[in-house]
């Protein structure tokens, strides 16, 4: 069981890395936004997964919705180590990423290889997704990557607050979702999502209130 889960984490990371390279390459060729390409690639991966596991409903359910109760100490330690590495590497390249997002020309004129930075960034995102899949499953993992950051962005005026709040919101969503799932004895994925969406709505209200009062 343990070996199977470690193996699934490695496979998820490897497949995610391949998808990241595919998205990066398509982005360079088509000039479409990463969001569009991630959406298309994600849906394709989901369709392939359903085709592969369509006749095994238990495996399909676990793949789609995750199963945190199956995550053991080894997987948890691996997830923590990977997370620390991802945070460290992101910190190293975040200025390059941000400058490339603000203006590719400006970044290139400062000697930054925007294409290489984007590829590294996508690989880091794919690693994050590989970890998240174990908790929320394939169907809801996109939430963990997007929603806490979106909620943080709504009420941030600088990068420092944006990064800090993104991490805090992600943590609150995951922990409260897992605790609630244990209390109600249901799968954690949907409750992680509902906790995160609640934070997102609160962020919208805060933003709205600030706008009204400022």
């Amino acid at each position: 069981m343990l070996d199977t889960l470690v193996f699934s984490l490695v496979v998820a990371a490897a497949v995610g890395a391949r998808a990241a390279v595919l998205i990066w390459h398509l982005g360079r060729v088509t000039k479409l936004s990463f969001e569009t390409l991630v959406g298309a690639t994600f849906t394709l991966a989901l369709a392939i997964g359903i085709l592969l596991f369509g006749d095994n409903l238990d495996a399909l359910e676990e793949a789609l919705f995750g199963d945190i109760t199956a995550v053991g100490v080894t997987e948890a330690v691996a997830a923590v180590l990977i997370s620390v590495a991802v945070i460290f590497l992101t910190k190293l390249i975040y200025r390059k990423i941000v400058l490339g997002l603000i203006s590719e020309e400006l970044a290139t004129s400062k000697g930054i290889s925007v294409a290489r930075t984007n590829l590294l960034y996508l690989l880091l995102v794919s690693l994050t997704v590989a970890i998240g899949i174990q908790i929320t499953g394939t169907l809801l993992v996109g939430f963990l990557v997007v929603t806490p950051a979106a909620a943080a962005k709504i009420i941030s005026t600088n990068l420092s607050r944006y990064f800090t709040l993104s991490a805090i919101f992600g943590l609150i969503s995951a922990v409260s979702g897992i605790l609630l799932s244990s209390y109600f004895n249901v799968v954690p994925g949907p409750l992680v999502v509902i906790s995160g969406i609640t934070l997102f709505v609160v962020a919208i209200i805060i933003r709205w209130r600030l706008k009204v009062t400022s």
Partner: protein, 236 residues
């Protein structure tokens, strides 16, 4: 590939520069040289190759011909458009990307006419057009470049602020001995705030002192049917 020009008189020597996008020629066989400390305005209609020339000078696009910068020249660049709406980034964070200290950041903001205490923690996304251009000028000069390439310095700025920004840019470049290459559509501004003008319309159609750009004959050259000029050895 841009190379180093070892002749100290000229900081930039462009020879036989040709550039095309999707097999369509944008710049044809362009030749010019510029000296340290001057302000050169690049003018011309939309699609004339002005921004492409900047990109070639910065080695951002492939080209044929030769671009030689004087050795050890520190080049700053400010593009026309920044995508700051989607990223919550403060003025201080943006300027700190150049590894400058907080005191340097405040000093440079004051030098471009901004109240540093008021704007330093503001998000770039909520700055007015005039404030944004001033922050960009601060970005451009904070690490003291020798040459500054500025694409439309007053893009998105109202007419009243335009002259103030150009006036400030002129005094800052003079004070810091910065050679300025700028792109502008406004010939009145070009005449007032630059020393020389280089007009493109797929090829070089005019090169001379900026005071000449308002002449009807010159305007016809710049905005009329392209008539390529062979100026020989041209320099500013």
């Amino acid at each position: 590939m841009a190379t180093e020009n070892k002749n100290d008189d000229y900081i930039l020597n462009v020879s036989n520069l040709t550039d095309e996008i999707s097999n369509k020629p944008i710049i044809n066989n362009l030749n010019f040289k510029i000296k340290r400390g001057i302000t050169l305005a690049i003018v011309g209609p939309n699609g004339a190759g002005k921004t492409t020339l900047f990109r070639a000078l910065l080695n951002l696009v492939p080209y044929t011909g030769k671009i030689e910068w004087n050795r050890k020249m520190k080049i700053g660049y400010v593009p026309q458009v920044l995508a700051v709406r989607d990223i919550p980034i403060s003025v201080k964070e943006f300027l700190s990307f150049k590894n400058e200290s907080e005191s340097d950041i405040k000093a440079v903001l004051a030098s471009v006419g901004l109240d540093s205490d008021e704007v330093v923690d503001k998000s770039l996304a909520i700055l007015s057009g005039g404030q944004m251009r001033r922050v960009l000028i601060a970005w451009a000069i904070v690490d003291k470049p020798d040459v500054l390439l500025f694409d439309e310095p007053t893009s998105g700025v109202d007419l009243d602020s335009e002259e103030a920004i150009y006036g400030m840019l002129r005094s800052l470049t003079a004070k810091n001995e910065i050679t300025l290459l700028l792109i502008s559509h406004d010939l009145h501004i070009v005449r007032e705030y630059s020393d020389y003008a280089l007009a493109l319309n797929k090829c070089l159609v005019f090169f001379g002192e900026s005071k000449e750009v308002m002449n009807p004959a010159t305007q016809k050259l710049i905005y009329g049917e392209p008539i390529c000029k062979e100026y020989g050895d041209i320099h500013a």
